[in-house]
């Protein structure tokens, strides 16, 4: 059926005296559209008479606005490449590109809508029943099904314009829901001195009052005001209260342990830690069941009023109101007040005695609305837009009624699923025929329509009372907190609820397309079929039919599914229960949960210098380090033949001071530092009590009670914690400070390094004055420095530490001084080659979680004569049993290098005797060299072994020879030069 253009513009003119709103241009399905400021995507399209926003998930039926409140799936669209955006709550912005989802190839010609005609081929649970056989065709089925199924398309490349933020808030009282009860709870809690966070998913406060003209009474702050005026009055009061932080357009998606309320607000994800929580989540209308009840134009009554009052859009002219409650009469009156013609009011209840005294009844009768009590709605008319309803009167006569809108005005159901997540079980209340919150968990409170259809005065009174109760409970141990309300109030609530008629049983007149769940296209018939097949439990039915499992998280169908299931099983809704509610309450993007990209990157003080030299970078821990500057071979040879300069600022550094510092270091290490002389430096290897090597580095004694401890680049945080742990609460007079970032450091190495040093310092750097393992302090390049004569790379070298601010200056000064002496910057790769030539192990690369110092070839660090140190007993055990595997050098015959981790085999056999941990080509020695763990019996000098080249059995083999002494300068003369 063709879309019938409405003769009257849907957009209402601006009120007298208000300027014409600014226009905003956007596109929908490739067509230019115009919105006005304040519009959501859906309201703008509604104003432009676009009624079909998407096609449904399974049957590809046309769908239009249903709730206009971000709760249902009927307006999910793709916005600028972001799928599943709810058009009805997303403000439209200039140039936005909006595309419908679930249409192929296009909305107008959606071929998949054929599924709607062949629904018999897609019975409930069809994915468990069909496409199973023949087995070999599954890959084909899968491809087709994957194309047809799913909601929207995610761009795997992501969105560079996503700027996720994360915030933390603390509040004595967190109020969820900004309707009248929530606002008053917030105001009263704040007035009691509590800090309050008020979370509301709407743009403005006031809840349902914003779409209500009827006056409200029961609190002096709003007495006699129309609903809309009361809403803005409450909003002003909240805004004026400095103790209340109002989070607008923010959804509480979950309540977690410790009353952590997770709030999603646009691109910001907020952790709100609540002393007390007031759930004032209200109640929401939900659909009624009849054939084709999903046609565009069939909307919740509140949706029609939202478009009218929040966006000045009148989405139709003539409304049929369908209801099961007095609520429908009030909504009919509201629709009349909003300028709609109400063509009929179909109340499924029989005409009761109070029919004339109902709120709204006067207005409805005065307007001459055709009223039918005891009506059974049978089916909707129209396809892409509803044109009317057919129904059966109480007398059994089938009739039709016209309207371009159908307002579904079932009694709003309490929104309890958020509270259920916190452990508050839903409780069926027979008096009102709804699920309401059961016993509250500590620190939780409820107020307003979440507790049932309370009259205005009680909603307002409850909000105020609960606000005060929560405030008084805040700040105390919540277990002692009280949720008790004054008896008079409880009595009044009980009386009010007793006066409510129970909601009538759900009406399902028959017809194939009574949609229960619009997300997953689950119909009443399918639930009926499921029950016949034995799925009597709602939790099983949920998994079988996917009812309540769609993107709306059951907001439209949670209670309805329980009622319909009960209808077919013969159980009561109370026995049937609700399906479990889980976070998130509203869908939230993975990007939002992931939060901002906060991976830390640390750059040394010389970073820019490396950059200028064209360094290739590598990541080490948080640090960026130059891997090389373009020529690893030249870098290696420069260090051996002239001089090289490497940035070692990333080494971890701990400043350890205090009277017991030496003794403390003795305790933490197998070797001794208390006897280290001031001005000397010594190697350190650190063990745990299992005797495993944790970390290594150097300890320099800078003063009688001051040591500088260096750690490997990646381990500083862990070593700092380890030091701190052994000091915690103890008597030792030691202070440990991580000074890694405070110092910039370089290692100047190579035969020419002494001459370079002489050019930049007045200190005596001669072999006699500053021998190997000296630790000097003095000016270098005019800045205060600590100079350590140590060398990882096996040549004469100086490790120079200066305050980080002088790092770039030191680098420049040394580069200048060494220019004519062949000085060349070298990177981590060259350093790895050079240290391998010396068989210096790297902790974490050549050692692992089973490596002890004795087997790693550094048994000399273990001073067994010390009475105790961490790892002593374990080391003694290893010493007593003798080494089994040893870390040894392996010379590689030929040009092929084994991979790190590759197996070492006994020559001529397939017997594994060890593994390679490092392997490099040495340009100086012109051969491959390696370190590896080898069985002690095979680790004899010169022994030939077979080396696998790849890990596992990949890559063939080569031959190696055990070398137990350093490949280069085994006597260490160059290092000590």
């Amino acid at each position: 059926m063709a879309e019938k253009p409405l003769p009257v513009p849907r957009r209402l003119p601006p009120a007298n005296g208000t300027p014409e709103p600014r226009k905003v241009r956007f596109s929908f399905a490739g067509r230019q559209r115009t919105a006005q400021e304040g519009d959501t995507i859906a309201s703008a399209l509604a104003a432009e008479s676009v009624d079909v926003l998407t096609h449904s998930f399974k049957y590809h039926r046309p769908r239009g606005i249903l709730c206009a409140d971000g709760r249902c799936p009927n307006c999910m669209v793709d916005v600028d490449g972001r799928p599943n955006v709810r058009a009805c709550v997303t403000p439209v912005t200039e140039g936005m590109r909006v595309r419908p989802q679930n249409v192929w190839p296009s909305m107008r010609a959606d071929l998949l809508s054929l599924t709607d005609r062949f629904d018999r081929l897609l019975p409930v649970g069809f994915y468990y029943k069909t496409f199973i056989r023949p087995r070999f065709l599954w890959p084909l089925y899968e491809r087709v099904l994957r194309g047809a199924a799913g909601l929207g398309k995610v761009d795997p490349k992501g969105h560079p314009d996503m700027h996720q933020r994360r915030r933390n808030l603390h509040a004595d009282v967190v109020v969820i829901g900004g309707g009248p009860a929530g606002c008053l709870a917030a105001l009263e809690a704040a007035a009691s001195g509590a800090s309050v966070v008020l979370v509301d998913d709407q743009a403005d406060l006031g809840g349902h009052l914003r779409i209500r003209t009827r006056p409200i009474r029961g609190d002096a702050r709003v007495d006699g005001l129309s609903g809309r005026a009361a809403a803005s009055s409450l909003a002003h009061l909240v805004a004026a209260d400095p103790r209340i932080r109002h989070l607008a357009r923010a959804t509480a998606i979950g309540i977690y342990e410790g009353r952590l309320v997770a709030v999603s607000q646009g691109e910001t994800f907020i952790h709100v830690r609540a002393g007390q929580v007031v759930a004032a989540t209200g109640a929401h209308e939900r659909p009624l069941l009849f054939h084709d009840n999903d046609r565009p134009g069939i909307m919740l009554a509140s949706a029609i009023l939202r478009l009218r009052w929040l966006h000045d859009v009148r989405i139709g002219r003539r409304v049929v109101v369908v209801t099961d409650d007095d609520h429908g009469w009030r909504q009919a009156a509201e629709l009349l007040a909003a300028g709609f013609e109400v063509t009929g009011l179909l109340d499924i209840r029989a005409e009761g005695s109070n029919a004339t005294s109902r709120e709204g009844a006067g207005e409805v009768r005065r307007a001459g609305v055709e009223i039918h009590h005891g009506a059974t709605v049978l089916a909707a008319r129209g396809t892409s837009r509803v044109t009317g309803l057919s129904f059966r009167t109480a007398d059994g006569v089938e009739r039709g009624i016209e309207g371009d809108l159908v307002a579904l005005a079932a009694r709003p159901e309490p929104v309890i699923s958020l509270l259920s997540q916190e452990g508050v079980q839903p409780r069926w209340d027979d008096r009102i025929g709804d699920f309401v919150p059961g016993d509250l968990t500590p620190g939780m409170h409820t107020a307003g329509h979440i507790n049932g259809p309370l009259p205005d005065a009680l909603v307002l009174a409850e909000g105020s009372l609960v606000g005060r109760v929560a405030a008084s409970a805040a700040g105390h141990d919540p277990r002692n907190g009280s949720t008790a309300l004054p008896v008079a109030h409880l009595r009044a609530v009980a009386d009010a609820l007793a006066a409510v008629e129970p909601r009538p049983a759900v009406q399902t007149p028959g017809g194939r397309k009574q949609f229960l769940c619009v997300c997953e296209d689950v119909t009443v018939k399918e639930l009926q079929q499921g029950v016949k097949e034995g799925f009597g439990s709602l939790e099983l039915m949920k998994r079988y039919s996917t009812v309540t499992m769609g993107p709306c998280q059951g907001k439209m169908c949670h209670g309805l599914a329980a009622r319909v299931q009960a209808l077919f099983t013969g159980a009561t809704p109370a026995q049937t229960g609700l399906t479990t509610s889980r976070p998130p309450f509203q869908p939230v993007s993975l990007a939002s949960l992931a939060g901002p990209h906060l991976a830390r990157t640390r750059r040394t003080a010389m970073h820019d210098r490396h950059e200028a030299l064209g360094a290739t970078w590598t990541d080490m821990g948080d640090w960026k380090r130059p891997l090389h500057y373009g020529d690893v071979v030249a870098e290696c040879l420069a260090v051996h033949r002239a001089a090289g300069l490497i940035d070692v600022s990333t080494l971890g550094k701990l400043d350890v001071q205090g009277a017991d510092a030496g003794e403390f270091l003795d305790w933490l290490h197998p070797n001794r530092f208390s006897d280290l002389k001031v001005g000397r430096v010594r190697y350190r290897a650190m063990l745990d009590d299992a005797g495993i090597i944790l970390d290594d580095g150097a300890v320099a004694r800078l003063g009688p009670e001051r040591f500088l401890v260096s750690t490997t680049t990646g381990n500083i945080d862990a070593v700092d914690q380890w030091f701190g742990w052994w000091l915690a609460g103890g008597p030792r007079r030691v202070a440990v400070t991580d000074v890694t970032g405070q110092y910039a450091a370089v290692n100047l190495a190579g035969p020419n390094s002494r001459e370079i040093m002489q050019r930049v310092t007045s200190l005596d750097v001669s072999r006699e004055a500053m021998p190997y393992l000296a630790a000097a302090q003095g000016d270098v390049a005019g800045v205060p420095a600590i100079i350590l004569r140590i060398g990882f790379v096996g040549e004469l070298g100086y490790e120079i530490h200066v305050p980080a601010d002088y790092g770039a200056h030191l680098w420049d000064a040394l580069i200048d001084a060494g220019r004519d002496l062949g000085l060349r910057p070298f990177g981590v790769e060259a350093q790895r080659v050079l240290r391998l030539e010396k068989q210096h192990a790297i902790v974490g690369q050549d050692t692992d979680a089973l490596s002890n110092p004795i087997e790693a070839g550094m048994g000399w660090v273990v001073k067994a004569d010390k009475p105790d140190f961490i790892g002593r007993d374990a080391s003694l055990v290893v010493e007593a049993r003798g080494p089994r595997l040893v870390l040894t050098g392996i010379e590689i015959i030929g040009h092929d290098l084994p991979a790190e981790g590759a197996s070492i085999l006994r020559e001529g056999s397939n017997t594994g005797i060890g593994r390679i941990t490092s392997a490099k080509w040495s340009p100086m020695l012109e051969r491959g060299i390696a370190l590896g763990w080898v069985d002690i019996s095979d680790a004899t000098e010169g022994n030939r072994v077979t080396l696998r080249l790849g890990v596992g059995k990949a890559g063939g083999t080569t031959v190696g020879r055990i070398r137990t002494k350093p490949f280069y300068d085994p006597a260490g003369e160059r290092l000590r030069a």
Binding site: E257, D695, A718, G844, A849
Partner: protein, 122 residues
Amino acid sequence: MSFLLGCPLCGPRDVYEFRFGGEIQKRPAPGSAPETWGAYLYARTNIDGIERAWWFHRAGCRRWFQAERDTRDNRVFQTAWLLPAASAAGGRDDSAAAVQPITARPPAAPAGAPGPEGTANG
């Protein structure tokens, strides 16, 4: 887990600011039997109830302290640099550890395993 933990220096903070440091234990005396060392190094009570454990305020003051917590519902009863030796809440007798924490053992080695975070947080 999303409870608050009271750092003795910084006050109540989100548990994600902390590193869990393991049960408070007493380090065996030097020369203890290998079995004693083995139990100390590898056996954990892993109590379903009130636990006394070390915590490190990694994203705050970077100090170690002790907390008494119910592992079933994450209620924290007390935190201190060192818990009082005899706790009303029961648990194992850690009095020696509390008086002389230096002889207690931290939860996990800082290194040895590959990667800087090889030992990371609970």
